[in-house]
Structures are given as C-alpha cells and as structure tokens.
C-alpha cells in the first residue's frame, strides 16, 4: 500500500517536473529561433521533410474521408429529402473538424515520429553533444528549424486535406450519385462562413501544428540516449500528440463554436 502510494507520488512528481522542463524548453526554443528564421534554408529543409513528404498520405486520406462523408451523408440526408445539403455537411465537417484533426493525427504519426526519432538518434550518437563542444547551440541549429518547419507545414496540410475532402465529397455526391451540382455548391457557399468556419479551422490547425511539433522535438531532445529510449520516445510522441490534438480540439471547439451561432 505504502509502496504503491510512493510510486504514485513519484509518477506525479516526475510528470510535473517534465511538464515544467517542457515549458522551459519551449520558451528557450522560441528565444533561440533567430537562426532558424534568419537562415531560412535550414527551416526550408524541414518543411520538405515534414510537409512535402507528408503530401501523399494527406491528399489520399483527405480524398477518401471526403468520399466516405459523401456516401454516409447522402444516405442519411436523403431520408429527410434534403440530399442537396450534402455539400454543406461535407464542407462544414471537413473545414471545422475533420480537416485539422485528422490531418493533425496523420501529421503526428508521419512527421512527428520522424522528428523525434531523428533528434533522439542524434542525441544517442552524441551528435548534439558534439555540436555543443563546437559552441553550436543544438536547440537553435537542430530543434528550432524542425519546430518551425512543422508549424509552417501543418496549416497548409490541413487546408489541403479539407480541399481534397470537399473534392472527394463532390466526386461521390455529384458525379457518382447525382446530387444537383448547383445546389451542392451554392448551399455550401451559403452555409460556410470565411471567418467563422474557415479561419477558425486554420487557427485550429496552427495550434495543432505547434502542439504536435513541440511534443515531437521535446520527446526527441529529452529521450534517453539508447536505442530503447529513442523507440520509447517515438511511441510517446505519437500517443501524447494524438491525445493533445483531441483534447485541444475539444477546448478550441468549445471556445469557437458555442454561443452566438
């Protein structure tokens, strides 16, 4: 009994300690981002690895999610004789929720895990210590470009996901099933508001981008420098950032879409 209480206490203390360290790490990272943004080539390379290489999975998933939304939405809506509202359903669910969230989850498992593994391995093979020996700050040189690369890539990926999803919904709804094309687009345009829906979706994806990339770089930087430690850190990145996305999504949705509308 007493031993398990001690273990619980130790776990909580360790968690809080790590949270504090992560916050300090985030502040330090922001203050030392000058190099990453000044020598933009470094960040460019990370946008390539985090963003460009995630394009295929994002585009294909977006297309399929949109197509499934089209099928399911049509099936439900036609019972109420309002299958023309299919465009509204597809666009709103993608722009408000599915675009940022699913793109964020995919981004966490595709790019976040890669970032953690890369930084963790650099730490395990003592490349980070070597940099410090040469008076190069590894946070400024290695971590910050990866962070900003992820933060820049994520909103673009989420927008691509949503656009691809709307196209998928159009493909299934209009081309395959035969919902009226004019009604599909005009009802969508009447219902989707640029500021309330699209801008809020973009804000969501920026927040998710910061959360996922921060977790990824922190887990990598904080990884135990062994093969086992790096694999554990990679797993933790995917689990923690997925949970963070879903929890943050709830908070942001509660702030954005309740009251007023």
């Amino acid at each position: 009994m007493r031993a398990s209480l001690t273990r619980l206490g130790a776990m909580v203390t360790a968690g809080v300690w790590r949270l504090g360290y992560a916050s300090r790490f985030f502040a330090y990272l922001l203050m030392h981002s000058g190099t990453a943004l000044g020598r933009f080539r470094l960040t460019m390379r990370e946008i390539y690895f985090a963003g460009v290489l995630s394009l295929i999975i994002i585009l294909v998933s977006g297309l399929f999610v949109g197509m499934v939304l089209g099928l399911q939405g049509y099936d439900t809506l036609q019972r109420y004789g309002s299958s023309e509202a299919l465009g509204v359903l597809v666009a709103l669910s993608l722009v408000r929720e599915l675009g940022p969230v699913v793109a964020g989850l995919l981004f966490a498992s595709r790019a976040g895990s890669a970032i953690t593994a890369e930084i963790g391995l650099m730490k395990a093979t003592e490349q980070l210590s070597a940099m410090e020996m040469m008076a190069v700050d590894p946070v400024a040189r290695v971590v910050a470009p990866r962070f900003w690369g992820g933060v820049i890539s994520m909103p673009l990926l989420a927008a691509l996901f949503s656009a691809m999803g709307v196209f998928g919904g159009y493909l299934v709804g209009v081309v395959l099933i035969g919902v009226d094309e004019g009604a599909f687009w005009s009802q969508m345009q009447a219902a989707v508001d640029v500021r309330n829906d699209i801008l809020n979706g973009v804000i969501k994806s920026v927040v998710f981008g910061v959360a996922v990339t921060l977790i990824a770089v922190f887990e990598g930087y904080d990884a135990t420098p062994t093969a086992e430690g790096v694999s554990g850190a990679t797993t933790r990145t995917v689990v923690t950032s997925s949970l963070a996305i879903l929890a943050l999504d709830f908070v942001l949705t509660a702030l954005m879409f309740t009251g007023g509308n």
Binding site: Y48, L55, L156, V166, M188, Q189, V192, V194, D197
Partner: protein, 159 residues
C-alpha cells in the same frame, strides 16, 4: 537531393497549400459575394424576432440585398432592434416595410423587405417604420387549438 530541388518542392508545397486555402475561401466559403461591397445600415424594430440570427440574409423580392449586422434589445420599449447592413447598390424608399419570414416550414429565418412608394430613399442610419414580427409556431398552434376548442364549445351550446 540537392538544395535547389528541395527549394522547388517546398515552393510547390507552399503554393498548392495556399491554393487550397484560396479554394476553401472562394469556392467553399463565400468571401467574394458580400464582404467587399460598400454597405449602409438601417434599423428595424420588431416586437418579436423569433429565431432570427446575426448574419441572416435580408431579401427583397427573393434576392439577397444585405445581412443582419446586429441584434439588440431596447429596454424602454421592450422591442428587438435589428440592424440591417444593406448593399449600397440597392436603394429603398423610406416607407419600405420589413417582415421576418421563414424559408420553408422549419428553415432558417430571414428578413423580407417590400419597397414602398416614397420618393425619398433610406440613408445610412435610417429606420424602417413598418415591420411585422416573426410568426412563432407555438402561438400559431395554440391559436388554432383555442379556435377549435371554441368551435367545439359553440357546437355543444347549440345542442
């Protein structure tokens, strides 16, 4: 992979990402349709606005001519104040009437405007004097039921 090809790919990525955002804003949303046009505001008072919401369309002859910009409450007269922001291209006479209508039986509510015959036109900050409140379905149903009950009572009285 040399640096220059990475630059190219990043450029393509950023371009199609921004393109997707533009697509969402223009084709999925309705950025182009009303936000750029100049508008003028007029005020309309209703004794009951039902389910009217901010940003609901203002239509005249079925065409959208503006949006509801703001909804307030006058605690002196206990009336609802709806501020309408109308497209500056469309001018309405001063005795134009406004009523709250519903698209379909249970659809969203909007404001319908019917032009009057006054030669002077509404200006920014003007007021719509003739208004008709929203039809509240519950009131309608209760009215119907009371009428039915009254009819039933008459029929029984005649016996």
């Amino acid at each position: 992979m040399t640096r220059s090809t990475i630059d190219l790919w990043v450029g393509i990525f950023v371009a199609i990402g921004l393109g997707a955002l533009l697509f969402l804003a223009l084709k999925v949303g309705n950025l182009a349709s009303f936000s750029t046009a100049a508008t003028y505001r007029v005020e309309a008072r209703f004794s009951n606005i039902g389910g009217l919401k901010v940003r609901a369309p203002v239509k005249s002859a079925g065409v959208v001519v503006g949006r509801v910009a703001d909804i307030g409450f006058d605690s002196q007269s206990y009336e609802a104040i709806a501020v309408l922001s109308l497209d500056a291209r469309f001018k309405f006479p001063r005795d134009t009437s406004a009523k709250i209508l519903t698209s379909g039986l249970l659809g969203e509510q909007y404001i319908g405007m019917e032009a009057g015959a006054d030669t002077r036109m509404l200006e920014d900050g003007g007021k719509l004097r003739l208004t008709q409140s929203a039809v509240v379905l519950e009131n309608l149903i209760s009215q119907f039921l009371f009428n039915k009950a009254a009819e039933g009572g008459d029929a029984q009285g005649k016996k």
